[in-house]
């Protein structure tokens, strides 16, 4: 654990001083992967899964796509802000250390956080929701409203990117797109043809198996997105656009949010509170139905949005 934390620190410092943005993007991707390892170490597989797919995967691809349009080299000129930045960082750092003095020791079972709300989830979720993966049950049911908010955040991001570099304003960029030419990248294409269908199957598995093992809507959507992005990277964005046209993706994303929100409205119609899945049936079964439906909603939205983002960024410089 100490080694990982030291590695993370080294990468962070390196990012601060490197000038070549491509290397910096790669370093930040490695940083995320190292954090995934740390999460697994800290008994949080779900988070590790998501961080790997979204944090390391999709965001790095998006950064690289953007870098292609905004230039690789960072032109460093005299920056007076470094002094202020250092001062702000140290002040906040000291405040954090001062605050941590009162925190329960690392891994201390008697910590207040483990004593108040968490035990309810651990002990009662078996009876109330009946699925072993407590994280998914909390994510979907106990704090289901947060996740609805979350899905809407993803949708807003897609909305924003569409507005900023959207289809309606697609303009010819200056830099040509370099699709993998058939003759040279045989290795890439071979792996891709093998890899993409496999991941396409993995996504639904993660989605529906999320109740039992780490996984769920977010992770499944990210994997689906990742697979399609890989296809786009290898075989060129036009073919990806033909495979999953943007209009369809927009509709799927909207349907995803509406499925999630709709479930809530249905529970209202059936006389229960918003997102109270007991309306679908007796205690454990109703909750599971509700969970599956909203996970599906999240899956559709996240998958569609990740692909949409990539299409917009990759398509920007071309066409």
């Amino acid at each position: 654990m100490i080694g990982l934390l030291a590695a993370l620190a080294a990468i962070a410092v390196a990012v601060a001083f490197m000038r070549d943005l491509l290397v910096v993007a790669m370093l930040s991707s490695i940083f995320s992967f190292a954090c995934c390892a740390l999460f697994v170490l800290f008994d949080a597989p779900d988070v590790a899964f998501t961080e790997a797919c979204i944090g390391a995967g999709v965001s790095t691809v998006l950064t690289l796509a953007a870098l292609r349009l905004t230039g690789r080299q960072e032109r460093r000129s005299g920056r007076p802000a470094t002094a202020i930045a250092a001062m702000v960082a140290t002040v906040c750092g000291l405040a954090l250390v001062y605050g941590s003095l009162d925190l329960p020791r690392f891994g201390d079972p008697r910590a207040p956080a483990n004593g108040h709300v968490a035990p309810h989830y651990l002990t009662r979720s078996e009876g109330e929701i009946g699925i072993p993966n407590v994280v998914t049950s909390v994510l979907g049911s106990y704090r289901g409203y947060d996740t609805l908010g979350e899905t809407v955040v993803v949708f807003t991001a897609a909305l924003g990117v569409l507005l900023l570099i959207g289809g309606a304003q697609a303009r010819p960029g200056k830099r040509g797109e370099a699709p993998a030419r058939a003759d040279r990248d045989v290795v890439l294409r071979a792996i891709a043809t093998l890899f993409v269908p496999m991941t396409l199957f993995l996504a639904p598995y993660v989605q529906f198996h999320g109740a039992y093992s780490p996984g769920g809507g977010f992770q499944a959507g990210a994997i689906l997105g990742g697979a399609l992005i890989l296809y786009g990277l290898v075989f060129g964005v036009e073919r990806l656009n033909r495979l999953v046209p943007e209009a369809v993706l927009r509709v799927i994303a909207t349907l995803g949010v509406l499925t999630y929100g709709g479930t809530g409205l249905v529970t209202l119609a059936l006389g229960k509170g918003f997102l109270d899945y007991d309306a679908f049936g007796t205690r454990p079964v109703g909750q599971q139905i509700g969970l599956t439906v909203i996970e599906l909603g999240v899956f559709m939205t996240v998958g569609a949005v990740m692909t949409l983002l990539f299409q917009r960024f990759a398509g920007r410089g071309e066409a």
């Binding site: 900023l164 309606a168 109270d276």
Partner: protein
Amino acid sequence: MSVLDHAPVLVVVLPLLTAPIIALLRSARVAGVATFVVAALDAALAFVLFARTLDGSVISYAMGGWAPPIGIEYRIDLLSAVMACLTSFSAALVAWFLPVSIAPEVTPGDRPRLFAAFLLCLAGLTGMVVTGDLFNVFVFLEISSLATYVLIAAGAGRDRRALTAAFDYLILGAVGATFVVIGIAFLYVVTGTLNMADLGNRLPLAGKRAGVVGASFLFVGLALKTAMMPLHRWLPNAYTFAPAAVTTFLAMTATKVALYLMIRLAVLVFGTPDEIGRINFATVLPPIGLVMLIAGSALAVVSADLKRLLAFSSIANLGLMLVALGLGGAAGIAAALVNLINHAVIKGGMFATVAGIVHRRGSSRMDSLAGLSREMPFAFVFLMIGGMGLIGVPLTAGFVSKLLVVKTAFDLGQTMIAAGVLLSSLISVVYVWRIVEACMIAKPAKPGRRHDVHPIFAAPMALLGVGTLALGIEGGPLLDVATRIAAALTGGAS
């Protein structure tokens, strides 16, 4: 359970779920009308909440049927209801003239998506105001912030600097949100719960240092959102380069919701209304408030664009609210709330007028306002009403706000603060008179014929202008509501 019993959740979910649908619509006209209808419905729902909480009762709505500390809870008291009314009413007013106002800036194809972003911003702000769960506040803060960045960037059609303004706000907003998350982390770890009321009871038992650090990070994160002085750099550019209709909506709600959160956290989570953990409101806020009041007004005097001038005036008025909040106690909070509502009405009216002017004349620079009093008398009258409100001329809402702050300061023997507030209101005379002279006295290059504001702007301008006067003449009812809220907050918190 009738629909009205679900008002607490519907007031947020309605715009939240209609936004994706509107984003899909083809025709900009239908989308515009739909946006206004949704905003109006939302305002009706908010009013239902207001009516229900008027007698001091608190509505608690458990999400997903799970009891509060376990699940997420919507806890709506009179303060939340009033703020929900503020956000939804200003959204309805702005949605009325939004389609016409942004026509020159956004291509028809993109407009439905922009309206969707507008509704999501409304949903985010209302969500932050009615929720009783700390992490839920962060989620809805993110929704409203993301939507705001996009809305500001939409101004690029008229002025490319809207992009850099949106980017600066994004960076500062993201850092602020992350500070809020760190604050939540510290508070969660020492108390184990995320429900604000529950947190309030358990925090005194927890470690003092973690509470203080958590509180300070939360305070800095929210300070950034309320554009407190050292962290205010994003506000002038954002308000100036965003489309005028968006600026109107932001001026009426964005910073005020963050201030609401500060009041809510100061009272509910940290117990004593004068203290966040160790950060004592009484020592921290008045100095910052006065600095904002004076610096904001001074910068307003030198700005070359009317929207930038009003943006700095917003910072100055925020300073006034912080001074009132810093005075502490029930009277201080009541004065801050009255200030908040009055300023929203005055500034909303002025920005709506500016939207009408920009729509007609293409630019809101001060030197392009020459001859306004002859060519656009209707707009000039409402600009004047707003200006008088900013100075604090009697019979306008501004006077009632200033009077309350000064009286509270005198009551508490803080004569220096009262003197500071009065002196800095002099600077507001200077920058309002710059507007008067720019409109009435400056000679236009070519005296154009009378060509007043597009009729669609008339209703919001009139409504807000009359509101400014009405709140100035009959300030009693608003003060009564504010005093009841303050009493409930300070009384209830002990």
